[in-house]
Symmetry: C2
Subunit: 158 residues, 2 copies
DNA sequence: GTAATTACCTAGTATTTTACTCAGGTAATT
DNA sequence: AATTACCTGAGTAAAATACTAGGTAATTAC
């Protein structure tokens, strides 16, 4: 289990989609502007998310991306693994022979801990995370603010 | 909250120390051989762990590193942050002004999730992780094996 | 139809991080 | 005094990160 800024981008972008799940697709341009991520980088991330079946793209005006499943059916762990951060990456990857014909201590301990972290993140869905009071308050505030200041910003925050 | 192979090295090395906590200090040379990490790289990691007060080094023959605190008083989260992976690393780091004078959505969502992951890992101590039956079984097996095959390997697995 | 909008794709690249190597220190034990 | 350990800093190859540039394809609005 790995966890880097790349995973953070993917998760927050997916949360953005989840927030606007009822309102139709969200364009990457909106997410890019919102979250300060370059458009092309987002495209690369979403290419993976799409190949993993987490999102679907809709071309043309009014298009964008939307979640393939309901927000309550997509976990944070799924998003992180979808962009390729679920790979174990131990030196002795598949090998059970990394040390004298047995698994090494590193392998055993880390795969165990990694699985626990995965299980933990697998229990957090996009919906469960958004539906909290504290997070919800921020979303409401942001929506109000941006609608007021720049209503043409797009669906992401409008 | 970040989590990379660097963090894995640190955590597994600390677990190694925790396993032999009753037996005196463990040398980096032993850990290096055990876990397949270069000695100098380990020295760099342990320099940080020492500065954070998680371990203490004992020089001279028979020396090595040992935990500063009891294994039940050191959490996995502490180890990861000690080597510098606890830093938030959002683009709008301390700034609450990253977007139009307000915190951005990314910042809010991720710091929230990051704190949850931290709390989770903070609940796992070196002792609690080792004392499980399944992990313990592996440790026992490894100790038996190495003692049999190469008794002079050192304290780490002997 | 045509033009605009959006997804989608490929290749290249600068920067940072990772993981390591080397070369020399300093300090404590025997 | 010799041994064995820790410490420091500089350098470096490989990988990951984050981005740039330039296309093609599908859909919508006119």
């Amino acid at each position: 289990m790995r966890l880097s800024t790349k995973g953070r981008y993917a998760v927050t972008a997916m949360l953005d989609l989840a927030i606007h799940h009822e309102e139709g697709p969200v364009t990457l341009a909106d997410i890019s502007e919102n979250q300060g991520i370059s458009l092309s980088y987002l495209e690369q991330l979403f290419a993976r998310l799409r190949r993993q079946g987490l999102v679907e793209g809709l071309r043309g005006p009014g298009g964008g991306y939307r979640l393939s499943r309901r927000p309550q059916d997509i976990s944070v762990a799924e998003v992180i693994t979808a962009i390729g951060e679920g790979i174990d990456a131990t030196q002795c990857e598949g090998n059970r022979d990394c040390q004298d014909g047995e698994e090494c201590l590193t392998h055993q301990l880390w795969t165990k801990l990694g699985r626990e972290i995965f299980d933990f993140l697998n229990g957090i869905t996009l919906a469960s995370f958004i539906e909290r009071d504290d997070v919800n308050k921020v979303i409401q505030r942001q929506q109000g603010r941006v609608t007021l200041v720049a209503p043409r910003l797009g669906k992401t925050l409008a």
